[in-house]
């Protein structure tokens, strides 16, 4: 295991999932892969948190799921954003930007 890989910060997993699904529906494995690839393998998604998070988000009504066939003709559960999920994505993004700015300021001040 490479040390440079980061476990995902608690709470940001939701944002990452919403962001990933923003570009179209996908199944859990692909979501994990996308996050890792897009982040240049900097971020690593724990399966142990991914699926509970997906199910919780579905219950909260931000995403919905459907069983479909993959390109390789395998049955998989595909998740997609709902309208509520899109709003949520926007909010979470704003929250993240604010957090990032805040953390940046604090770090800058400390130096």
């Amino acid at each position: 295991m490479r040390a440079s890989r980061q476990d995902i910060l608690q709470g940001t997993l939701t944002l990452l999932i919403l962001q990933t699904l923003g570009s179209g529906e996908n199944h859990g494995y692909a979501i994990a892969q996308t996050i890792e690839q897009v982040s240049n393998e900097l971020l690593r998604v724990e399966e142990g948190s991914l699926y509970p998070a997906l199910h919780r988000m579905e219950q909260d009504g931000w995403i919905e799921s459907q069983w479909k066939l993959t390109e390789t003709n395998r049955k998989a559960r595909f998740y997609s954003l709902t309208a509520a999920g899109r709003t949520r994505l926007q909010q979470e993004t704003e929250n993240w930007e604010r957090l990032k700015a805040g953390v940046g300021l604090v770090l800058g001040w400390a130096q």
Binding site: G28, E47, G48, Y51, A53, Q59, G61, K75, A76, R77
Partner: protein, 863 residues
Amino acid sequence: MSWFNRFANTILRRDTVGQEAEDEMAFHLEERTKENIARGMTPAEARREAQMRFGSRSKLREETRDADTLVWLNTLARDSRIAMRGIVQRPGLAITAILSLGLGIGATSAIFCVVDTVLLKPLPYPDADQLVMIQETIRGEQIGGNPARRRDWQQQLTAVNGVGGLYSEGVVLTGRGEPRRLTMQRSVGPVFPILGVPPQLGRGYREGEERVVVLSHKTWQTHLGANPDILGTSLNLSQTPYTVIGVMPPTFAASTRADLYSAAPPDLDSPRRTGSWLGLVARLQPGQSLTALNTQLATVGARLGAQYPDTEAGLTARAEPLLDATTGPARRPLWLLLATIGAVLLVVCANLSSLLLVRASERQREFAVRSAMGAERFALLRLQLLESLWLGLIGGGLGVLVAYWGVELLKYLLPADLPRVETVQLDGRVAIFALGLALVAGLLCGLLAALGGASRATADHLRDGLRTTRRTWLRPAFVTLQVVLSTLLLAGATRFTESLISNLRTPLGFNPNGVIALSYSFPWDTPGRKLYSTFQQSLDRFAAIPGVTSVAFVDRLPLGGGTQSGQIEIPGHEFPPALRNLPVSHRAISDNYFATLGVPLQSGRIFHPPTTNLVEAVINATFAKLYFPNEDPIGRKFTFDTKREPGKAPNWITIVGVAADIRQELRQTRQPPEAYVPFNSVYWPQANFVLRTNGDPTSIMAAARQEFLTIDPLLPIESLRPLTDDVKEASSQTRTIASLLGGFALTALLVAAIGLYGLLAGEVTAQRREIGIRLALGAEPSAVLSGVVRRGLILVAAGLALGLALTVPALRLVASQITDPNDSPLNAALLAGLIMLTVALVASLIPARRASRVDPATALRHE
């Protein structure tokens, strides 16, 4: 929506949800494995890496399920399943608990239903709690109301809004099919405004309005076809036409039991102050209390007594709520039943706690394991509570069923003249009450058991195995409580049975077997001549029916109670006051009466042929014994004419014969002296005929009915039945109470025995090892046996002592109402004690024998 979704997932889709999560994870693993292979790993390596990354699948499965479902509901469902499994594992315990709880709760609810309907529900009148009944007494003796006095009360009492007087009389409805006997309630004063219930149809009558009648709803429905055009039509009631002006609503009859309502004839509302036959009702003025009214009654009563010393000296009066007055005689037996069944319920609950306590102590090891595995104490408590909750729920469900059938059974068992008993039914409130009661009982018992037993699940239990010989005080206390209550119930049941048996054993003085009784009555204004000729005609016609061997007339049948009576005077005799004031009953009979009922004539003869003058009488043995202790009464004279004007010669009656005593009431504590006079020498329009038969009673009853139609087609027969029915009916209340109490007592006894057995059996199991060691060291098996029995008997003896100590005052409390208060309750208490001890002995012997047969080798290897 999310909540609902999760709820649906929990309840309806739990398997689907689990399976989908499983599939999803399988897919993920496969994809990862494929990718790993693509990166150059061997398939085995690829799979292992994928699995390692994935972590614990079962943990993941749980976490996704928690996301999809309601966690608490899941826990509840899981714990319920475990609890259910626990219940099913011990079917004996479960069945005992559920059955006893169901029976206890069901019976309590059923009796509560009756008490509620009969005693507690307000009467169906507006502001019914303001209605009172006024009871007058003169020199301590209760009397009825008099119309002139009613007027005085109404004028002088300011605490009430008018005073109404009521009485009922029998009338015969003719001209509408078969003649029918109906009860007409007559009123003096503003009865309808006082009760405050407007008729459903038409109007009520005005005070003193003549020849108009208001129908009860039932009369309108059953006898007049519920025809709404009935208003304004005429009804022929005892040969007098009445105009129907109204119909009362169905609820109204609940406490009056009359078929028709009408004003008393105006001539009856006279200033005459003799004659007292009214029931007085009144409504409190707003803001006035019962106490204020009673104070006024005392003042006004004293004033009236001074004003009319001839008729009203010593007059007092008391008011009580109308509800209490109408339910008066039923009150104590019903509360008694409720208290009894409450005691049974307590025994049941104590037993349930005790059973659950055994269960808890048996599971101490299991709970120790569970808590060692990390179960929280609360989770363990929850598990135990769920188990007792489920037992309570099932028991409660059974209880509702039992209550439903119990109400029907009680309606059948309880005397039909109990007010409002026919309207008793299990309503939703009581059903919910029953279920709630069961749940609370279950929870409380479970909580007691859990706190008393299982919470001490510690590592010690794991280390030492099941060697808990510590005795808790809780279970023995429960057993003792059960014994106390069962003893009380047993003593009560024994007491009533004893009284019933003694009532039934005492000779009736007549032979009711093979005798048919037929009753009818004329209106009170029928001329005597008409009565006597009809009676004589009936005697002749009935005697001619084939299979009838003998016929007689009597004004009032034996066992029916209540004869007319008066004080007597015997020339040349001075009696002490007790004898002088003793009322002597008199009955009017035809000469065949004693022969027909099989009553032996002890001396003399019967008046024959009967004359129309009151000159001859037959007396009973008690009369002869009391008034002529040392002489032959035959030929002696006496008179009822004690209140004659001075100087006027009384109407002397000559005693011609002495007949054996006949019981006039079943629960008769003292045989009254009686004189029998010829039926046509006194005026009495109510006739009873007794027909001794030697043929088929059914066909003879039909023939008698047929014969009577030819004598007077307009007169209804009031009743026609075997005389043995009267005997049964007379004993019915005591019989009912005795059998109900007996049933309760048996239930309680059984439950208590199970409780005792359970306690001892549990202790023997817990001490198996100890007993084994003692036996191995040479203890006699008989010593072990007697040790266990002794322990059982000590518990029982404590309960028995307390129970018996309570029995005497408790029986005093109830016995005065229903049985002869002079009897000592000691027999009942002793018998109850004996039964209790025997049952306790058996219940302790079974576990004791098991203990004495413990094989030391197995017992020591056991753990």
